[in-house]
């Protein structure tokens, strides 16, 4: 793993940004192929059609899929943040009452200053399991929610580190990115279902009319045959592939937010110890639903995948394995201590 060599927090941030960029490019390229690939095939099929017959020159399929995904994204952007908070049963802290709430508000204000962002709105979730998440599409409309359990369990420094991680998500516009990707995944999943149905219908149709279309099919060039095969296969695996790519992006953003937390607090070890505490709290966070898992500081479902390193955890988790996150944070802390002692 080359990640471990670049332990400086700014290098880690850059590395994770680069990796996200490539994943997002791959995601969009695959999505484009699913839509506009179909247009290409239709174009090749109708290219030699007689002058008055239909020719597919305008890429309807690709545009339709893009518009569909766009509508889904717009809907998710509009309703997402409020829905997440509502479904978690969060209560907004408008005026802090009690020591722990005052401390939370102060810590959020401190981290807003450290990140140079406006103070987000603060919400409390009545759940004894420690967890936290951020939502809202931009820094001006950001929300940070924490559970009662987190307030009870963490020291001031640890709470600060967790809030800094969430402010990192806010600063990186991760909610916007993940909502966008989730909309693309949803569009592909719905359409793939439709394409699958069409294929089954088409096979029946082909069996009925097979005799007559035989002569025409012989004229298909090898390019078109390969294109059709690859395109159909792409649609078959699309729901799976898009989800994996989205999860890949999610994990990179978690690493990035960890490194942002280290930048804001200059205390990566506090986040490491907070993560260890959160990991050792056994119960899953009941109030946070599966759909918003990627927004949290730690996987709220407590799935085993985040516990250990391994191929399965590498592919299917919304969060990277906890052990790796903690190891990287400790490496950052070590670098910092080394830099300090070198300059003294």
């Amino acid at each position: 793993m080359s990640d471990f060599e670049s332990t400086n927090l700014f290098e880690q941030q850059d590395a994770n940004r680069r990796r996200t960029r490539w994943l997002v490019v791959a995601f969009i390229a695959f999505f484009g192929w699913l839509g506009f690939g179909g247009d290409w095939i239709l174009y090749e099929l109708t290219r030699d059609a007689p002058p008055n017959a239909y020719r597919h020159v305008f890429p309807w399929a690709g545009i339709a899929l893009t518009v569909f995904a766009g509508l889904l994204a717009a809907y998710a952007w509009k309703t997402g943040p409020n829905k997440v908070l509502w479904s978690a049963g969060a209560r907004e802290i408008e005026t802090a009452s009690g020591d722990s709430e005052t401390r939370l508000v102060n810590v959020v204000e401190e981290m807003a200053i450290a990140s140079g962002l406006p103070r987000p709105r603060i919400w409390l979730i009545p759940d004894p399991d420690p967890n936290a998440f951020a939502t809202g599409l931009d820094a001006e409309h950001a929300h940070i929610a924490v559970t009662d359990g987190l307030l009870a369990m963490c020291s001031r420094d640890e709470l600060q580190a967790v809030i800094a991680h969430e402010m990192g998500h806010v600063k990186n516009l991760d909610v916007r990115l993940m909502t966008f990707l989730a909309a693309l995944v949803g569009a592909v999943a719905l359409m793939s279902d439709g394409v699958g149905r069409m294929l089954r219908g088409g096979a029946r149709f082909g069996a009925l009319t097979g005799g007559r279309s035989r002569g025409k099919r012989d004229n298909l060039g090898p390019l078109v045959v390969v294109l059709i095969a690859v395109w159909l296969l792409s649609w078959l695996i699309a729901p799976f592939v898009t989800r994996l790519l989205a999860l890949g992006v999610s994990r990179k953003r978690e690493f990035l937010a960890d490194a942002m937390s280290a930048q804001f607090t200059r205390n990566p070890l506090a986040l490491a110890s907070a993560l260890e505490k959160i990991e050792h709290a056994e119960a899953p966070t009941m109030s946070i639903k599966r759909g918003s898992a990627h927004l949290c500081i730690a996987d709220p479902l407590g799935r085993k995948a985040s516990l250990r390193e391994g191929t399965l955890a590498d592919i299917f988790g919304t969060h990277p394995p906890m052990a790796i996150r903690v190891a990287r944070l400790k490496a950052m802390g070590y670098q910092e201590a080394k830099a300090l002692s070198a300059s003294a």
Binding site: R103, E109, E110, I113, A114, G116, R266
Partner: protein
């Protein structure tokens, strides 16, 4: 053909120029804004101190010197903050005095368990901790932004536009307290430049 190529190169140059200029101006404003954040937090700190002093005064008859040190450091810090044209270094020095005095006061408060137990003092302590943190984080943001701005000014080829954008190195907030840091003072500002945030 040659003429078109020349035009393209010129257009690219103009685009780069605009980009580099705007980047510098953007950073300059960010530095100014970061400085304002520090100012806000310093004011909070100064406002908080009389409250703290009044609360602990009664119980701390024997620590008059410590209390007086805090009050005088605060008054001096306010003077420095309100004086026009103060440099970052002067503010840093005055505030560092205040940090030291406050630290001693809090250490003394620790040795009065009865005092600490009263709710008011516990609340004040949280407020003070938070304010101190806010100052530290605002300072961190200011130093990070200022360093970014200074680096950009010196980097080739942006340094060619630096004069045009009126960019001058921003002075960093150095920690002058000997206890906080024991390294020689590295002046990154080359001489006595104006404070960036004006």
């Amino acid at each position: 053909m040659g003429f078109i190529a020349l035009l393209v190169v010129l257009a690219l140059l103009v685009f780069w120029l605009i980009g580099a200029y705007n980047k510098l101006i953007g950073l300059k404003n960010q530095v100014a804004n970061a400085w304002k954040q520090i100012d806000v937090q310093l004011k909070r700190r100064h406002d908080l101190i009389p409250n703290l002093v009044n609360t602990v005064k009664g119980a701390m008859q024997f620590e008059r010197e410590t209390l007086e040190a805090v009050v005088s450091a605060r008054n001096k810090a306010i003077q420095v903050q309100q004086a026009p044209g103060t440099s970052v270094g002067q503010t840093a020095a005055a505030e560092s005095q205040l940090t030291g005095a406050l630290g001693r006061l809090l250490a003394v408060v620790e040795s009065y368990p009865d005092l600490k137990a009263t709710g008011n003092v516990a609340q004040l302590q949280e407020e003070l901790t938070s304010t101190e943190n806010k100052i530290a984080f605002a300072r961190q943001l200011y130093n990070d932004t200022a360093t970014q701005y200074n680096t950009k000014q010196q980097q080739f080829p942006t340094n060619l536009v630096a004069g045009m954008a009126g960019a001058a190195p921003a002075e960093l907030w150095e920690i002058t307290d000997q206890a906080e840091r024991a390294v020689p003072n590295v002046d990154l500002s080359f001489g006595t430049p104006p404070r960036a945030a004006t």
